[in-house]
Each structure stands twice: as structure tokens, then as C-alpha cells.
């Protein structure tokens, strides 16, 4: 059982911006930046030729304008779904709740071999 050390909601007051990356496939994922009450979520999808698809949404207290809540937990130990590229793997868990169908369709595709059974839940890392 995963031991949760702390729950970090992205609207928690923080000095400076924190950035988290959740890779959903080899070239695509979710970047969450948080700074105090405000934040930003970016869905990105690259290829070898560059970035092809990006969707950016602002957050206020962890919630998008259409009501989706992004919450991040630090885990006691990393969850690994992919040993080579660390897709959907890491020490932080992102849960998206209240997402509209429009937001869900904008999510980068989750690589099947790294998928978990938890809906709209992804694993990744905090960048230094």
C-alpha cells in the first residue's frame, strides 16, 4: 500500500513556483505549475519534429475555469509503470476530478503499457 507522506494541493501557499511533469506517453504529458493561489496546467504533445499540440489552462486554487480540480500528492515511494522512460511513473500522483468531457479529450494519450486502472490519475515527478 502506498504510504502517503503529504498531500500537496496545488493552491497551497508556496514561495516561488513549483513545477511537476507527468508523462503520459513518450513525447507527451501534463505540466503543472503552481505558485500560491494561482497555477497553470499545460497539456503537451511533441514528436521528433517538435511540439504539435498544446493546451494551456489557468488554475485558481487548483481549479480550472470549467471546474476541473487538479490535486497532487507526494507519495512515500515512487509508483513505476515504465522502467525505461518513466511514463506514468514517479513520486507524485496527480488526480483530476470534475473534468469536463472537453478537457478529457484534450489530454495526451496515455501509453497503454504504462496505464493504471485509476481514472484520470497519473504519476510523475517534481522538477528541480
Amino acid at each position: 500500500m502506498i504510504r502517503v507522506l503529504a498531500i500537496l494541493f496545488i493552491w497551497a501557499g508556496a514561495a516561488g513556483a513549483d513545477t511537476y511533469i507527468f508523462m503520459l506517453n513518450r513525447f507527451g504529458g501534463i505540466e503543472v505549475k503552481m505558485s500560491g493561489e494561482t497555477g497553470e496546467v499545460k497539456f503537451f504533445q511533441e514528436s521528433k519534429d517538435g511540439e504539435k499540440f498544446t493546451s494551456q489552462t489557468r488554475l485558481k486554487n487548483g481549479v480550472t475555469s470549467d471546474g476541473a480540480r487538479f490535486s497532487i500528492e507526494k507519495l512515500g515511494k515512487p509508483v513505476v509503470h515504465d522502467w525505461n522512460r518513466h511514463i506514468n511513473s514517479g513520486s507524485y500522483r496527480l488526480k483530476i476530478t470534475g473534468a469536463s468531457p472537453a478537457l478529457v479529450t484534450r489530454l495526451p494519450l496515455l501509453a497503454d503499457f504504462a496505464a493504471s486502472k485509476e481514472p484520470l490519475t497519473f504519476y510523475g515527478e517534481k522538477t528541480d
Partner: protein, 201 residues
């Protein structure tokens, strides 16, 4: 003298006065260019098919005019060495061969090469594809002189071919091989300086 060219997930990528660009990262296995890296199921390729893309965005395999993955046919062992598998691509393209010929791509299984993150590639004008590259295992000081032949994700530092991994004694398995030690592998590339036998692209 080094300057920070950019940071990837907080890790600096430096550029030195001689133009070389270098960073420290993992050793992730890139199977691209190997003609049995990916396949319909069955046969299974060496790597997960999802690492070559998905319908509408195949970044690691050849597609036909309708966007469907191209399957190697029977009949020409040089052009299509693994019939039934998809044709895997690298960003570096070998001249003299058409799009549907396996020899157009650098075979990760047999050629040692390194991979540059996409944002590093576009950060400066000189060309990276085919440029001189040295990978160093900082634990053993063992070095590999090779070329840069593929492009990787902008969020990840440290990737090389299966042959490069084997050179360092790492497992070349693209599903679970390589090394996740982020402080062990040093990559130095000289964009604009060709590696022997590799025209710059």
C-alpha cells in the same frame, strides 16, 4: 568557460566556448531505427508499440499515404529485413534509400548513437543530426565516440541506442534496460561538427 544554454526539468544543459553542448542524465534506451523494434501484434517488436506513437501521430515508424503504419513485406532481405514488422525511423536519414527502405534509418541494435532532446536541438542553429558525440560513464570513465542520430522528448536528458547501451555493459532492452542513474552519464555533442561517416542534417 561554460554557460547554461537551457534547463531540462531543472537540470542545466551547458554550452562551452568550443561550441560543444553537454549535460548529465540517464541512459534511456532508444530502439528506433531497428527494423524489428515495433510490430503489429503479433509479432511483437522489441519495444512497446506506443513508444512509436499512435494513430494520427506516429513519430517512430513509417506510414503510408493514408497514415497507416507500413508493414515490411517479403521479398527483399536488404530493404525489408523483418517482414511483418513496422519500419522504424530515426531523425537521422541515410542518403540513397527511399522512405520504405530499412537502410534509410540508423539501426539502434547495431549502431551506437546518442539522442538529443528536441528543445536542445532547436536551441541553437548548428545541426545536431550526425554531429560528433561522446558519451561518458562517469562511474568508470569509459567513453564512447559516436554520432547523434535521433531526437528525444524535451523533458528528458540522457538517451542512446541499444548498441550504445551494450557497449557500456547495460541491458539494451528498450522496455526495461538502460540506466536510471541521473548522475552517471555525461553526454557531449558538437553541433555543426560531423561525426566520421555522417553528413550533418
Amino acid at each position: 568557460m561554460s554557460k547554461v544554454l537551457l534547463k531540462v526539468n531543472g537540470v542545466p544543459v551547458y554550452q562551452d566556448n568550443d561550441g560543444s553542448v553537454h549535460w548529465v542524465g540517464e541512459f534511456t534506451i532508444d530502439a528506433d531505427g531497428c527494423p524489428h523494434a515495433y510490430g503489429p501484434e503479433p509479432p511483437n517488436g522489441l519495444d512497446y508499440l506506443a513508444n512509436s506513437g499512435y494513430p494520427g501521430n506516429w513519430w517512430g515508424i513509417v506510414t503510408d499515404s493514408s497514415g497507416k503504419p507500413y508493414v515490411q513485406p517479403e521479398g527483399n532481405k536488404e530493404k525489408w529485413p523483418w517482414p511483418g514488422y513496422y519500419l522504424s525511423t530515426t531523425a537521422y536519414l541515410v542518403g540513397g534509400f527511399d522512405k520504405f527502405d530499412a537502410r534509410r534509418y540508423v539501426d539502434s541494435e547495431f549502431v551506437a548513437f546518442a539522442v538529443v532532446p528536441g528543445n536542445v536541438r532547436t536551441s541553437i542553429p548548428p545541426k545536431f543530426m550526425g554531429c560528433r558525440t561522446v558519451i561518458t560513464d562517469m562511474k568508470t570513465d569509459k567513453e564512447l565516440e559516436c554520432a547523434c542520430c535521433d531526437v528525444g522528448p524535451s523533458s528528458h536528458l540522457g538517451e542512446g541506442s541499444m548498441a550504445a547501451a551494450a557497449y557500456f555493459g547495460l541491458s539494451p532492452n528498450p522496455k526495461n534496460g538502460g540506466s536510471s542513474d541521473r548522475s552517471r552519464w555525461h553526454y557531449r555533442m558538437w553541433p555543426g561538427v560531423r561525426s566520421k561517416g555522417y553528413p550533418l542534417q
